[in-house]
């Protein structure tokens, strides 16, 4: 199922409600639901921050593909900007050296099976994949 959300942080409550409804239909375990929710929040907020040139809604879709639950976020009429292309975060640094930058992408990569970025027809698409069975 797909739904459009206004590209603003205030949409997050609606995004979470939509995801909860989709997870209730597809039945992922709590860890899978948490991982996908965290990643959706991360990339939705990145669309809000890094695509100010467009006020088009963000499209969010959830579907089962094979044995995986897949969530797609699409930002429309935007310039290419691959938010997944950041380098690895060094999580071994001391407290003094740690910064929050890149943490959301680090978590998404480690909690999901795949995180992909594609660009075409002035659309940025983030695809999040989590297998429903190990």
């Amino acid at each position: 199922m797909e739904r459009n959300f206004k590209k603003t942080i205030a949409s997050l409550d609606g995004v979470f409600t939509f995801l909860e409804g989709e997870f209730a239909r597809h039945g992922p375990d709590p860890a899978t639901a948490y991982a996908l929710t965290l990643a959706v929040e991360e990339f939705f907020t990145n669309f809000v921050k890094y695509n100010p040139e467009s006020d088009h809604d963000v499209t969010l879709g959830v579907l089962v593909e094979g044995e995986a639950l897949v969530v797609r976020l699409v930002a429309h009429d935007v310039n290419p900007f691959d938010v997944t292309a950041t380098g690895p975060v060094d999580v071994s640094l001391s407290l003094d050296e740690r910064t929050p930058g890149g943490l959301g992408i680090h978590l998404s990569r480690h909690m999901l099976d795949d995180v992909r970025y594609e660009y075409g027809d002035r659309r940025s698409t983030i695809t999040l994949v989590k297998r429903l069975r190990p």
Partner: protein, 96 residues
């Protein structure tokens, strides 16, 4: 729904979903903390990278004066997030 409150004994209590839209609420309470205090997460269901960032910022500030946040009653899902972020090495986490 997210709430952050500080009890009379100083303990901070987080409940609900700590996401990017709640950063200002959390900042308003955590920015006032000047000494070591416990953060009770018993009823916290979710925290994202933005929430982790607020806790990190507060911990860095408190450590400069020899104080810290001590996190308590963390559920398993949130504990896993802390482990993957290696935040379990920079926060004292007390088991439930």
């Amino acid at each position: 729904m997210f709430t952050i409150t500080q009890r009379e004994d100083g303990e901070i209590v987080l409940t609900g979903r700590f996401d990017a839209s709640r950063v200002a609420d959390a900042d308003a309470v955590l920015d006032r903390v000047t000494s070591t205090c416990r953060v009770n997460m018993k009823e916290l269901d979710y925290i994202s990278s933005l929430g982790l960032g607020i806790l990190l910022k507060t911990q860095k500030r408190l450590k400069t004066s020899g104080n810290e946040l001590i996190l308590t009653h963390m559920n398993k899902l949130i504990r896993d997030v802390f482990r993957i972020a290696r935040f379990d090495t920079i926060f004292k986490i007390e088991e439930a």
